[in-house]
């Protein structure tokens, strides 16, 4: 049993929640800015403002709950700011957005400090508070005045209201029409809430459909109509109703007393509908009754002929039809559809206006006065809402689970050996089933570790916006494929890489607005971040439409830095030249800005990607833009590897690194500058024996197998004794003790329990690449 003694045990939950809120606020605020700039949808704008406000509010609350008062205060101040935006007292200008972003930065720093254990007191938020106060001060005086006025207004109203007595409401009579969005999911709930809201501010005289239908939560139509007496103004009424989501439109019209009883709205039509049932159909009375109930939901059913209770007893005219007079704003087709949904309807005729008299003469015979209790109206089909069945699990547990499965595999191997020895068929069969189950278990755990890239992507809109403003550039940033999932470990490392690439794109890629205009490009540069799934890989693409990478400049720089010789440069194709940016210590920036910084270059990016068993490539066209493509495995924990053997030891090489496998004849080996090479399809490729790299002795053979790997700028062939099979392997860390050992990415355990080292091609050649 858990006893909740203090809240510190919830710190992780709090931090995760807070970070989500920060991302949510920043993205919503940026979207808002966009909408304001482009003059977008009012409704979307309002929803975004509501969301931002709510997030700030929750952040404030949870921070207070945890006792982080400084953080709570800061969130509170931001909430005030957003509240003013929500009330329309402050316009959303880039300055306001900047300020909100500054608030978020401060909050994020506090969160960081809290996580690091130093509390939320170290961030100086006073300048931010001052800025916010200044902005809020301008509006508060006018707000007070407004409040004072409304207070007076209230005093003037001569109403006495208590819970018991229904007071006589002074005011105007309005006809209110509420239209819901086509895709509204909760119309029945919203309709009920609109009704209760109106009840609170006035007296409802009439509704379409019938009040009972709305109250029971059975409303299914697309529009609601009310006639209400209230002292509120049409704008106030409108505001009350539009606070509900999914409301598309509200029309409030003043109704003059003398037109009461007339059609309230021009587009409300009156129809006489004749519905003929199949003569032989059983239950036609009940069916008719249900049709009547349905019609009540879409409008004002003024008359039913014969009366509903007769209908129910199958007293139809000529034994087969009945007629109704309906006031509705639905069109004829919709009405017809609604009726034809019912079985056993033979014919529906819809006539405009009141033509009911034509039917009266037809039925004078039967008269029955007995009353029958109405069955309850057919309840509408309510939408199923999915309840979140998600739970949060610490990655630690998943790692542990994965390890345990690894252990299981080892044990299974031992069991298999024992079973072999005993020669027990039954035992072997049981073990075979177990191994299937284990594979499934592995897949399941892998699946659990997958996280949507959104978790990292969500930070970027804010970062990009901030950067662009700092550099006086205009950037239109779009993201795609945020829902693509990838292993947690990969995602964690991916963040920094993408930050670097995006910064480069904005800092070095996108030109200043004036320059772009001069070049005939749109003022705002385009930066795209795209995630895409491709079989067992994901592609992440960072694309800009900036000035591109100039191969000549790259070559010049590389020569200056002594990375290549002028001769080498002369021979290089443009695509090759661009790849020089991945060399350590290369930076193409003409000026060093604090954005991309010094020292961290593309080589670091490449290193990170390679440790993830991925690859990075770049395409660029001068004047048109640059595209970086990252190819990453979906899961780090389990990869495909080729097993090779040297000196009776088995090693695993991740298949991602391997271009091809070849057989090398000793006779084809050539020596250039004391190094062995082979010519493969007109390309000179250095050849290394894995034995040499590991420093174990080997006997030269006439023929040996080799794998060809790509080291970025250079291909290399690695000779081994024997190529074994391709296998899915579970990567296990070598542990802290061995973390400094170069050349290995980890270890894995084979089915038979043997431990095999996984070769990390890049770090393996790290030591000798200078000599290539």
């Amino acid at each position: 049993m858990i006893f909740v003694e203090d809240l510190s045990q919830y710190l992780d939950e709090f931090l995760a929640d807070a970070r989500d809120r920060i991302d949510s606020i920043s993205n919503a605020v940026i979207s808002l800015e966009e909408i304001v700039k482009k003059g977008g949808d009012e409704r979307e704008k309002r929803e975004l403002i509501d969301r931002v406000f709510r997030d700030a509010h929750t952040l404030k609350g949870t921070a207070a709950t945890m006792g982080f008062m400084r953080l709570s205060e800061t969130a509170h101040k931001m909430e005030n700011l957003l509240d003013a935006v929500r009330n329309g007292e402050i316009e959303i200008t880039p300055e306001i957005v900047d300020l909100v972003m500054d608030f978020l930065d401060a909050i994020e720093k506090m969160i960081y400090d809290i996580e690091a254990g130093s509390g939320d007191e170290n961030i100086d938020v006073d300048p931010l508070f001052e800025k916010a106060d200044k902005l809020l001060k301008g509006i508060s005086s006018s707000k007070e005045r407004k409040e004072e006025k409304s207070h007076q207004d209230n005093r003037e109203k001569e109403t006495t209201a208590t819970h018991e007595e229904v007071p006589h409401i002074e005011g105007n009579k309005y006809h209110i029409k509420v239209l819901f969005q086509d895709d509204a999911q909760l119309k029945n709930v919203r309709a009920f809430l609109v009704l209760t809201d109106l009840e609170e501010i006035g007296e409802i005289i009439d509704t379409i459909p019938e009040r009972e239908i709305i109250e029971e939560g059975n409303f299914t139509g697309t529009s609601l109509e009310f006639t209400v007496t209230t002292s509120l103004s049409p704008e106030e009424i409108k505001k009350k109703i539009t606070r509900h989501p999914e409301v598309k439109e509200v029309v409030v019209k003043n109704v003059k007393e003398n037109v009461q009883g007339e059609n309230l709205e021009e587009n409300v039509n009156e129809y006489t509908i004749k519905i003929t049932m199949e003569k032989e159909a059983p239950l036609k009375g009940v069916r008719s009754f249900l049709i009547v109930q349905d019609l009540k939901k879409i409008g004002n059913l003024k008359k039913v002929f014969p009366e509903p209770n007769k209908l129910e007893k199958e007293e139809l005219i000529e034994g087969k039809y009945f007629a109704v007079l309906l006031q509705t704003n639905e069109n004829k087709d919709n009405i017809k559809q609604l009726i034809l949904k019912h079985p056993d309807v033979e014919k529906v005729e819809i006539l405009e206006g009141n033509r009911l008299n034509e039917f009266h003469s037809a039925d004078k015979s039967k008269a029955d006065k007995s009353e029958i209790k109405k069955p309850t109206p057919q309840s509408s089909i309510e939408r199923k809402v999915k309840i979140s069945k998600m739970i949060k699990v610490d990655v630690f547990h998943l790692d542990k689970l994965m390890n345990l499965v690894g252990e299981l595999v080892i044990n299974k191997g031992r069991l298999e050996q024992i079973a072999e020895r005993l020669g027990d068929r039954e035992l072997l069969e049981a073990l075979s089933t177990t191994s299937h189950l284990m594979t499934e278990l592995q897949d399941e755990i892998m699946e659990m570790r997958l996280t949507p890239v959104a978790e990292v992507f969500n930070k970027f809109p804010r970062m990009v916006r901030k950067l662009a403003r700092e550099l006086n550039k205009e950037v239109e940033f779009t993201m795609e494929g945020s829902d693509i999932e990838v292993d947690r470990t990969i995602l964690d490392k991916l963040g920094d890489v993408l930050v670097h690439l995006l910064r480069n794109a904005i800092d070095h890629g996108i030109e200043p607005p004036e320059e772009r205009i001069a070049k005939g490009k749109p003022r705002a540069g385009k930066v795209e971040l795209i995630a895409r799934r491709e079989k067992s890989h994901i592609l992440i693409i960072v694309k800009d439409d900036g000035k591109g990478i100039d191969p000549e400049k790259v070559k010049k720089k590389a020569i200056e830095k002594g990375l290549i010789s002028p001769e080498q440069a002369a021979e290089m194709r443009p695509e090759e030249a661009i790849n020089l940016i991945f060399l350590p210590g290369f930076s193409t920036a003409e000026k060093v800005t604090d954005v991309s910084g010094r020292g961290v270059g593309m080589d670091v990016v490449q290193d990170v990607i390679k440790t993830l068993n991925g690859s990075i490539s770049v395409k660029s066209e001068v004047g048109k833009g640059t595209t970086f493509i990252l190819k990453l495995p979906i899961s780090m924990a389990i990869i495909q590897a080729l097993l090779v053997k040297i000196a009776n030891e088995i090693y695993a090489i991740p298949i991602n690194n391997i271009l091809e496998t070849i057989d090398i004849k000793q006779s084809k080996l050539k020596t250039i500058g004391g190094k062995k090479v082979i010519v493969l399809r007109d390309e000179i490729i250095p050849v290394f024996m894995l034995h040499e790299l590991f420093g174990v002795g080997y006997i030269e053979k006439d023929k040996f197998p080799a794998i060809v790997v790509d080291l970025g700028a250079q291909k290399v062939a690695i000779g081994v004794d024997e190529l074994l099979n391709k296998k899915d392997i579970v990567i296990k860390s070598l542990g802290k003790m061995l973390s400094n050992v170069k050349g290995f990415a980890g270890a894995t355990i084979l089915g038979d329990g043997r431990v095999v080292l996984i070769i990390d091609i890049n770090s393996l050649f790290g030591g000798i690449s200078g000599g290539l």
């Binding site: 939950e13 609350g61 709950t65 709930v189 809430l193 009840e199 501010i201």
Partner: protein, 353 residues
């Protein structure tokens, strides 16, 4: 041991949900049967899983707590406890929720509450258990009006000649909102109310009462002169007493130790009122858990005053009135909607004689 009380926790913050869930599940008689992170999910969960009690947050996306409450109380009546943030808006929304039909509320778990987390845990668990026992007749959607009541502005305020001291706890706010508005503008007594509520909420509650009543209602301040036809609500975290100073009845607020675990408590208020006004004191004990007010009524009775208790049928929780009745110190046991008229009649009686 019968089956556990199944609780639906509705909150948009996973963090708060976790805290509440741990607190609720820590009690052997309670279990969280499901969680929802907005009103939409809450309605669906209530419909399909029929929880015994719901804890409901107010600010939520898609469908907020108040709206969800209205729909739930109308369609699937269930005891609801609001989880309220300690802000002015939070307090106002909470009072509104109680009027719509929520049973009770608890402040959002917070490190800076005056009560520690241990006490809060106890409060949450006790309130959920009490809520689960509420008879179905109290579970329904109640419609309210937001229009303000017109007050007759009195030219000259008179010092109160008699006093009405009212005690209420769980179910009190919604019940008092059906008593105070019925009091006539001509009432001559000063009216003191102790409603067990945290600071902040008492102010919003007083404002809401003021808006719908014919007489003025305010949150009491230290030193207030007790005037006739005016209602004084004891502020949260203070005991409220009335004393005669320089011949005039005045309010004193103090932070003396909690009585029955609460502050404000009704007993000190009633005892001080009985001492100041003697037989011109009318004591009323309304719905609520515990036994606060019983001692106070006894003191009023001892000094010749009149005592009233709400009856069992209309008390959301028949704890405090029951304690007073069992003590044998109650003159009138009346249903909720007759409390106001009983007060008026009692006032006539004490002022005449």
């Amino acid at each position: 041991m019968s089956r556990k009380i199944r609780v639906l926790v509705v909150d948009d913050s996973p963090f708060i949900r976790k805290v509440l869930k741990d607190i609720i599940n820590s009690d052997p008689e309670l279990e969280v049967c499901c969680e929802a992170h907005n009103g939409v999910e809450a309605i669906e969960a209530v419909k399909t899983l029929k929880p015994d009690v719901i804890t409901l947050d107010i600010e939520m996306p898609q469908l907020n707590g108040l709206d969800a409450l209205k729909f739930i109380m109308n369609k699937y009546p269930t005891p609801v406890i609001m989880i309220s943030s300690l802000t002015q808006e939070g307090a106002e929304a909470t009072i509104r929720a109680l009027e719509y039909g929520a049973i009770d509320f608890i402040p959002k778990p917070s490190s800076y509450l005056s009560t520690g987390i241990k006490e809060l845990r106890l409060e949450i668990i006790t309130k959920i258990k009490e809520a689960a026992k509420i008879p179905p007749r109290f579970l329904k959607f109640r419609r309210i009006r937001l229009l303000e009541s017109q007050k007759r502005i009195r030219e000259k305020k008179d010092v109160a000649k008699s006093i009405v001291a009212i005690a209420a706890s769980t179910g009190g706010p919604q019940s008092l909102l059906r008593v105070i508005p019925k009091l006539p503008a001509e009432i001559k007594s000063g009216i003191l109310i102790v409603q067990h509520m945290p600071p902040g909420f008492t102010k919003s509650f007083a404002q809401r009462l003021d808006r719908v009543s014919k007489i003025e209602v305010k949150e009491a301040e230290d030193g207030d002169l007790v005037e006739g036809g005016k209602v004084y609500v004891a502020p949260g975290d203070f005991h409220m007493e009335v004393t005669i100073r320089a011949g005039k009845p005045r309010i004193t607020l103090n932070k003396k130790p909690k009585v029955h675990g609460v502050r404000p408590a009704a007993d000190p208020m009633m005892i001080s009122a009985a001492r100041a006004f003697g037989r011109k004191t009318i004591g009323v004990v309304m719905t609520g858990m515990g036994r606060d007010g019983a001692q106070g009524l006894a003191e009023i009775k001892k000094r010749g005053g009149t005592t009233i208790a709400q009856d069992k049928e209309t008390s959301i929780i028949f704890g405090m009135p029951k304690a007073a009745i069992e003590l044998g110190v109650v003159d009138y046991i009346v249903p909720l909607d007759r409390i106001a008229e009983t007060i008026v009649r009692a006032e006539k009686k004490v002022l005449a004689g």
